[in-house]
């Protein structure tokens, strides 16, 4: 009973930063022309875009060939973290639900939890980070990637922010 009063009400501002595209609407050539961010082909609503999608926790995911997603943290996040001194990453084979904690990055500032952007299975972890955790700061979108995972539920990807929406999100929280 007392605990119910303690439970935090979920922040309601997430929904305002979701992309405006309706998920189920098929893309017509006309619609495509007015949405220059997306590198989609007309023939399919293929998600094999090299574009990054972002979570409100400042993680990005990039879908590679074969439907595997590479996950990392954004430039905003690495800057806020400060110099990363250790990357605590999951074991290959770990099953993750969207928003599950999958590890932590330790910097001088704090140990910051990492949250899975999607539901899926960890298929690869960046072993370079063991000896060179600073890659997360130096090259957060490239060499400082954290892990790769399967995408069990592609619809979850649609709900993430594209780069433009993420930029707007950052500006809104910086104020």
């Amino acid at each position: 009973m007392a605990a119910c009063g303690l439970l935090r009400s979920l922040s309601s501002n997430f929904s305002t930063v979701l992309p405006l595209l309706a998920r189920s609407a098929p893309l017509s050539p006309l619609q495509l022309a007015s949405k220059p961010y997306f590198g989609r082909t007309i023939s399919s609503s293929s998600r094999l875009s090299a574009a990054l999608k972002f979570t409100d926790k400042h993680e990005w995911i990039r879908v590679e060939d074969g439907g595997v997603g590479t996950v990392g943290i954004s430039s905003f996040a690495q800057e806020a973290l400060g110099d990363v001194v250790y990357c605590g990453l999951p074991e290959v084979g770990t099953q993750l639900a969207q928003q599950d904690e999958f590890g932590a990055l330790e910097s001088v500032k704090a140990a910051s939890e990492l949250y899975s952007p999607l539901t899926g299975e960890v298929v690869e972890v960046n072993t370079l980070l063991a000896d060179n955790p600073g890659l997360v700061n130096k090259s957060c979108y490239k060499d400082g990637w954290l892990m790769k995972m399967t995408i069990a539920n592609p619809a979850e990807l649609d709900a993430l922010m594209d780069e433009a929406a993420y930029e707007r999100y950052i500006r809104s929280i910086e104020d």
Partner: protein
């Protein structure tokens, strides 16, 4: 006695209802004090508060202390940081916390402070100011200041406080120690490696000379210190006083028992250790020469093992057999001893000696 217990439970509930009351617009704090001296219970309470309390509009300070325990940081290696054998003998607990940072020794003379806040309100220097200002008011003659590393140094020299913190979904916590009257000889006896030859990229500790506040302000009482800090934290807010809580009380903290069990478990405490290897000599007095042991440890278990004993003293096949039996076992003398039990009982005295030498390394 019964009345007292229920009264404090009611006041606790009142305070918690306070936390979510939407009528409050001022950002006031709440000071909690744990009744428990069990390190795992207290760490579980931290986890619970972090996950369940709405910190967007108010902050919480938790004051706690533990019976003797060594607390390692999130990504540290307990074998490298502390002497597990000595701790077992002395009944000193081991805990891995969820925040980063280095290894500390806790006992009843060490006050722990955890500052809970939203991620936006995360400000460690401001938190440490609560401590330094409180100390300045209590004993103005003491020179206490926070460094860039967020230690608190007494009289320019001695570390009396270390800091660590954790950032999660919506919230943050920053906790620090404060040495009032800790047992410094116990501290130095356990804060050394369990075994030699560890190669690891786990986060290291930065050792510092420490002192207790009572070494320099002998009249400072524990209660005085606790009250002084609580008062400083509550300065300028509508709340005052501290609320005593029992971290094992599931009516106040539902599911806290599960958090405690997770923190107490082997998988978290040892299994979370970053991959490391040990390379060291094996003491074989019977052979009058030493051997070499090389072990790879992953998730706290032996992942690879190679034993190099003089071939004219014990044949390679036998030392190979011992290596093979150990792979997959926890890197722990008890677990390993159980695994090699049959070999330890075998007729070959040299095999028994080799086993004993290997177990000796594990701490």
């Amino acid at each position: 006695h019964q009345n007292q217990a229920s009264c404090s439970a009611v006041s606790t509930l009142t305070c918690f209802c306070f936390l979510t009351c939407s009528g409050f617009s001022t950002r006031s704090g709440l000071v909690l004090q744990s009744r428990s001296t069990d390190v795992h219970q207290n760490l579980a309470l931290e986890d619970w508060i972090d996950a369940n309390v709405d910190l967007q509009r108010r902050s919480v300070l938790l004051l706690w202390r533990n019976r003797p325990a060594v607390v390692i940081g999130r990504h540290q290696n307990p074998w490298a940081e502390c002497d597990l054998k000595a701790m077992r003998r002395a009944g000193i607990a081991l805990a891995r916390r969820r925040s980063g940072g280095g290894t500390v020794f806790h006992d009843l003379g060490n006050l722990n402070l955890t500052f809970f806040a939203s991620k936006k309100a995360y400000d460690r220097q401001r938190n440490l100011k609560v401590v330094t200002e409180a100390l300045r008011r209590l004993r103005p003659e003491l020179d206490v200041r926070a460094t860039d590393r967020l230690d608190i140094i007494l009289n320019g020299h001695y570390k009396i406080s270390g800091t660590a913190s954790r950032l999660s979904r919506q919230s943050s916590y920053h906790h620090c120690t404060l040495l009032h009257s800790a047992d410094r000889s116990a501290l130095s006896a356990v804060l050394r490696p369990s075994c030699p030859g560890i190669h690891s990229n786990a986060t290291p500790s930065v050792p510092s000379p420490v002192a207790n506040l009572i070494d320099h302000a002998p009249s400072l009482q524990w209660e005085e210190l606790v009250e002084g800090v609580a008062e400083q934290y509550n300065k300028g807010s509508t709340d005052s006083g501290t609320v005593l809580v029992d971290p094992s009380d599931e009516t106040l903290f539902p599911d806290v028992g599960r958090l405690e069990a997770e923190l107490r478990g082997w998988n978290w405490t040892f299994g979370k250790t970053p991959k490391f290897s040990v390379e060291t000599q094996l003491q074989l007095p019977e052979a009058r020469r030493s051997g070499r042991l090389q072990v790879d440890v992953k998730n706290g278990r032996i992942d690879g093992c190679s034993i190099d004993a003089p071939a004219d003293w014990i044949c390679e096949r036998l030392s190979g057999e011992l290596s093979a039996v150990l792979v997959g076992e926890r890197f722990c003398p008890n677990a390993a001893a159980a695994a090699v039990a049959a070999l330890l009982r075998c007729e070959n005295r040299r095999m028994r000696e080799l086993c004993a030498a290997v177990l000796q390394v594990m701490g």
